[in-house]
Amino acid sequence: MTTRQNNPRRFYLSGIDWIVQGMQYNCQAAPGGDYQFLIILHLAGTPDTEKLRGCLNKLQTMFPLLSGKLRRNWFNLAPYWQAPRQTVPKNILTVVDIHEPDMEQACHQYLTGFLNTPFKADMPKLAAMLLILPDGSSRLALSFDHCLFDAAGGEQLVTVLNDLWRGAEPDASDFMTAEGPWLNEWRHQFTCGRTVNRSELAIRKQGIPSVLGRNSGDTNRYILIQLDEADFAALARRADIEAGPMMLTPFLVATIQEALHRIFSRRGGSNSICICPMTVSLRQGRRDELFFNRWSIMPMYSSANNTHEERLKQQVGLFYNYMKTKLPYSLSKACLLCRPLPLPVIARFSQKPFSAGTAAIALLSQMEFDSATLLGEEVKELYHVPRIPPSPGLGVFMNRRGSRLNITLSWTDGIINDDELEILASAIPQAAKPT
């Protein structure tokens, strides 16, 4: 049973939040940034920068959580996020005028730099960069600390920012609820732990998972692949025919796994299985789910020896069985048992194959920010760029925007070469072409 907390400044972390703190620890141990992600918006025009700065200041005042810190309860060791009593807004907006002839290349360089810039200790866990292009359009990138936001929560915050711009005065308490510390459901947590343990044992029987290897750890890089309305419709049709109706997610996972198997085959290693931890949303659709992580994982695996049909069937079966046994929910609950552990131990735990694997996959199939305009300008595009922890070092993030699909490949330097990247980058666009 969950109990509501009276102290609104103290937000106890869920089990998944504690795992995310472990990933954050791993990111900080390697050169580069924090465990953070960008939401990048292409805007048709350029918003008023001073008004934007004012709205970002209001966000900081409205949500003191943004300037909070991780703490632990001295008695039961339960970790929580402590919001300060008062917040003095800081300047978190960087404005850049792009003058370079190759605008796209220049934007990519600035955004890659932004992705790899850690949050400073005395600054809020939110930063913004506005790139103003010579043609009058602009790119707005917001950098979110994953310890405080998941992808859907990030989009929810963009909606709040848009509301502030329009002059609305939303009530902060609508967007955050202090819960926990979940100290009264031990039996349920152990039962969930048993479900997780059974799944892990079943995966171990499949073979040794392939991993991409060590990275140089300097920089996280990304590329964006976009499927327009026609290509996405063709992809969905093919998924319907080959994997079954409404089975787009297992089809996409199988397509990515096939590309990964081709990469391992080229490397000549003894490739047995790929494990791709796929994040799934546990959101209830409430407004107060803006902060913290409300997702879990399905470990999707496939053997190198499978045919395309076998792999599709296997992914559909795994998807169905994980949902039937409530594995994602069980994992989120079982992780609560880990909270008394020290952060370095959790950091090691978060690198285990079950949770790290070969490559991480995420699909955001529902838009939390669905407005056609942001800051008074038409939104041409919206996509997410996650920073991937050193293990697994490679991630595929997909988000639907209207009738289109955006795919971001994100990786740490040295983990994958250019030829291998091309195999992965072309996999989903090729699947959208007629066979």
């Binding site: 109706p245 997610t249 169905y320 529902q366």
Partner: protein, 81 residues
């Protein structure tokens, strides 16, 4: 209540709950595609159907035609019973 009506009523309630819609927004002519269902929500629905009626539609080879409306889905479930 006939079996078809019972299945139809169950589907309307279950789809509304999974997609967080009002029950009045869901009727026998609603298409799952139009209601905005995704893979995860669809699998949730299939599991609810299996738990209630013991029918594994995924094994039975469900098709896009069965999903054209909730009425078509109800008829398919009835066929499998």
């Amino acid at each position: 209540m006939s079996k078809t009506a019972e299945i139809q009523d169950f589907l309307n309630k279950e789809v509304a709950m999974i997609l967080r819609l009002k029950e009045s927004d869901v009727n026998e002519n609603s298409s799952l595609n139009d209601l905005g269902i995704n893979s995860m929500a669809f699998v949730e629905l299939l599991i609810a159907i299996e738990n209630k009626f013991g029918v594994q539609l995924i094994q039975a080879g469900i098709t896009q035609t069965d999903l054209s409306s909730l009425k078509a889905l109800a008829l398919r479930i009835e066929q499998e019973l």
